[in-house]
Subunit: 593 residues, 2 copies
């Protein structure tokens, strides 16, 4: 079984010291979970995830899901664990109390979900997608739809899915063919095939509420003719009881590199009964409510998998005795030193540690803005928070999964040959995590979303607010000798990001291919800058605790210095690359490949 | 089945134009295969690998090897393909004619082996390791041993293996416990367990010659007490016929992330009969003959897998219709454009293409030096060639596998969700290739070998020769306007590598941890520089062919310009990182991880 120690100390540091969680005690949800309660909640979640989900992680990988004509069976143990998860309230955690949710802050939910994803990513996807379906219905459903579906989705008694992809259409949803034929009673008959539907069928819940993109007969071609439908697996009677089986069926499971514990279904809809949600032909707008939430969840998976991969690499590196330190034996009584003494092993572990802690800060910082965007009374702050959510979502999704994967691969490398065998969990972590760079919009799509939409939105209001925030921090914190390296690193990173942004503004509009060619490196530069900012804030906080007896703060500073010394220099390379533009990238004719 | 088109045009360009292969027509082996013959040989090898090995690649992955009490069964079809490979002469390709080999140049063998590894990496490991055993016996065997084993290893009728690793000892061979007890007849009884033995048992050959590291009773502890033994699976009678079954047995197969078609065995030696090869306690010296050869072979796998992964990504990107070009439709009559129009897809494909072609040049360039080191009459050139082989081996092994893996992962990414399914070969390429960063010495071990041994050997003679060679090239080629960007890029790269080398000399001796902490980035910088040099040479060659009707040369220049524009900037980042030294890397106490 993998080792895993939940990053509770980090959560506490981030909530209490860095984000000053208690400042928001007057906001809904925060009032129900002041810091000491929040800490208890996270402690309990740590026990649940380590005790219940972690032991099922390898089983899920090795046994996978099974398709039967009666339905998909999840791996042994998943059903019991899911029941426990529902009963413990983790599914209803931050949902609307109107429908039975606990209304707790999203920033806490992110912390819980990191532990869920780390201990069992494939399992965590089931409730994760349910929450997406919940959000879409909460946002766009009629009062009757909310009444009918939200309580059961909130509690986790029912699950939800997202049905976008068809065999010929993934990113380009304008091509989709699934059709919806209006019926006299106001419902629709949905017919089509959807693929890669996570949790499309399973044996965890009594019902599954599929949210399905389809084209109403006669609707315009392209993305302007797409509507969203609620298609329950079992029809729901007016009294809430389950009725007939709908003709929405999982006809096969996908064979995948990883996440074997999650049922990735080929779904067949044959005149299945569906109900329009939101307006006709505006399905994508509603779908993006789910999608944006899912993207943050995927970024979180990138961190979560990087964290557990790192922890297992550390465990191995401390136990595996091989060779001697270059500077003299560190375990003189043993036959050899643990491999953690070797600088190149350290490099890989420090890379992962500095990334993980920076990424965790970035996620919680953003999630708090998510709370503020809904709950804060100040209009200007709500707007800024909303702007930030839009701007940071593609960065969190792509940077945390892309870099996370790099550190997961390094963590496998720390194991040497053992990492390549299936006796250690490193291989599963890598195989599972590989999907995070792809689903809910490939990382290339995230980069385009960032440079093509999010930068320009509202005249660049979001990115300029971010520049201002960093400038103010730099101005306010210059002068302290110990903090200064962080201030300088942030000033450099921020200047690079600004330089890259200006380059995009000047060159991306005249030739869109320049924006496309620069997008990946721009997003990477953004990620490096955001993590540099997080490390600057954390360093300031840790320095303020210098006298504290807890060695946590000193370790935090050492890790932060590693980041600004060893990892921040990646920003300059990305800036150089992005400014080369489209010429080199597009010079070769497609036939010459 | 994966698509694969052997890079025959590249081989021809490199052999004929870049390396001027025909200049060496007077050397042994080269005389037997002048350029037109060499071209035919490679054409035939392309047909064999695409026609015979490629169709078995997916079968090998899905069906894998099977352990039975009677021995290990390779996947269906492997036996027939191996027979065909032996009959076609690919196993004996560059072996010594004294023992039935064809004595063909290693530079051609590398080209053949790239095609073998690309079309079926797991399969190619069987003959690959045989050649390693052949080389060790050829180098250190007694005349009788050579007579007994080399003809059958040369022909491929028998296979060979390398037995180094034990459960508690991989990189640190000084810890090994397998013991050898001298017998009255001059043989030894070998007892111990070896793990991760590729091809430790199989059903392809009549006999298997295991080369086994063991410690003779009473030998000194550590690496100074290790000897190497020949341990045949079946005893060999004086007349060459097979005798009794030796007590060298595969007791289990490893469950691995990839290369399922290769039998990775747990080997048990129980009083197995073995014969000392080379001198007592000097086993590592002989083992390194095999090891260095194997390392070059692994670097080659890194390129080969990157090439076939790239080709399949191109194939997908040309067929998959999704979205429209940012600069207007490129396939206006179709429902969408092929994804190859998107700049970020191009970026990944160009990265891979520019890497692959540079890496191929680097491999063939080095392999030619391998030929020259044995065959050239000029002492000074033989010495330089030998120095280069030592210096380039760790770079080829680690840079080509590490970067190759990055491009393989990108090639999977080009497939979107399809890449994560096992319906496309991208997942297998990635799972197979992951081992190349680990086996035959992890890439971290390669980096240490480079900075700790190879740089300093003979007072730095090898690296200074390389600097001189680049300086001379820069001096001789300055002035041509079209070539100048390549000259400038090489001057920058070479100056960075020299800077990094000087930093290591000044800081790595006083604190070995500085060398260790810098080693990975130094090796990366070395790799970028070597590929920049290769691209400079190739660009010059291609420019000289400017009037040629073949569009190959123009494509080569475009690809080279991409490399120097988009990829060479990675060198500066590695230089910055390596010069930060050990402080940040080693600051954290092991307990604090």
């Amino acid at each position: 079984m993998p080792v895993y120690s939940a990053p509770l100390r980090d959560f506490r540091f981030l909530l209490e010291d860095v984000l000053q969680y208690d400042k928001y005690a007057n906001l809904p949800g925060f009032a129900d979970a002041p810091l000491d309660v929040a800490t208890q909640i996270l402690d309990e979640a740590a026990k649940f995830t380590a005790g219940t989900l972690l032991p099922l992680n390898g089983i899920g990988d090795k046994q996978g899901c099974t398709w039967t004509p009666e339905g998909v069976k999840t791996p042994p143990g998943f059903k019991g664990a899911y029941k426990q998860m529902v009963e413990s309230g983790y599914v209803s955690f931050s949902s609307d109390p109107t429908y039975g949710g606990q209304g707790l802050p999203a920033v806490l939910n992110v912390a819980v979900n990191e532990m869920v994803s780390a201990t069992n990513m494939a399992f965590g996807m089931y409730p994760g997608l349910t929450h997406g379906a919940y959000s879409a219905i909460h946002e766009a459903g009629t009062p009757e739809q909310k009444e009918m579906y939200l309580p059961k989705l909130t509690s986790g008694e029912w699950a939800g899915t997202m049905n976008l992809t068809e065999p010929h259409c993934g990113t380009d949803l304008g091509l989709l063919r699934t059709k919806a034929v209006p019926q006299a009673d106001g419902s629709y008959k949905i017919t089509g095939q959807k693929i890669w539907i996570s949790g499309g069928d399973q044996d965890l819940t009594d019902n599954i509420i599929h949210l399905v993109l389809a084209r109403i007969e006669g609707a315009p071609a392209g993305v302007k003719g797409i509507s969203l439908f609620i298609v329950p697996k079992f029809m729901v009677n007016a009294d809430g009881s389950l009725g007939a089986r709908n003709t929405a069926t999982c006809v096969g499971l996908e064979h995948k590199m990883g996440i074997h514990g999650n049922a990735t279904c080929v779904m067949s809809y044959e005149d299945a009964t569906g109900y329009l949600i939101g307006k006709e032909n505006e399905g994508l707008k509603v779908m993006f409510v789910m999608m944006n939430e899912a993207r943050l969840g995927v970024g979180l998976q990138g961190l979560a998998m990087s964290e557990i991969a790192y922890q297992n690499a550390v465990d191995f590196a401390k136990q595996r005795l091989q060779g001697r330190s270059l500077t003299g034996p560190k375990n003189a009584d043993g036959p050899a030193d643990p491999v953690i003494v070797h600088p190149d092993v350290r490099r890989m572990l420090m890379d992962a540690k500095a990334f993980n802690e920076g990424a965790r800060a970035f996620l919680l910082w953003t999630a708090l803005y998510g709370d503020l965007s809904h709950k804060h009374p100040d209009d200007a702050l709500r707007q800024k928070a909303n702007d930030y959510m839009g701007l940071m979502t593609p960065v969190l999704k792509a940077y945390l999964t892309g870099e996370g994967f790099r550190h997961i691969s390094d963590s496998l490398q720390v194991h040497g040959g053992s990492g390549f065998t299936e006796h250690y969990p490193a291989s599963q972590f890598m195989r599972d995590a590989r999907i995070t760079l792809i689903y809910e919009g490939t990382n290339g799509v995230q980069a385009l979303d960032l440079v093509g939409r999010k930068l320009a939105a509202n005249g660049g209001r979001a990115i300029f607010a971010f520049f201002n925030e960093m400038d103010e921090w730099i101005g306010a914190n210059t002068g302290d000798a110990e903090l200064q390296p962080f201030v300088d690193a942030l000033a450099t990173a921020k200047a690079q990001l600004q330089d890259g942004t200006m380059w995009l503004m000047q060159n991306g509009m005249s030739n869109f291919d320049n924006a496309g060619a620069a997008s990946h490196d721009y997003l990477q530069l953004f990620g490096v800058t955001a993590l540099t900012y997080m490390w600057a804030i954390m360093a300031k906080t840790a320095l303020a605790k210098k006298g504290d007896a807890d060695p946590y703060y000193a370790t935090k500073l050492v890790t932060g210095r590693y980041f600004i010394t060893r990892m921040a220099p990646e920003g300059a390379m990305h800036l150089t690359k992005l400014k080369t533009g489209a010429d080199a990238v597009m010079a070769l004719a497609a036939e010459a490949f």
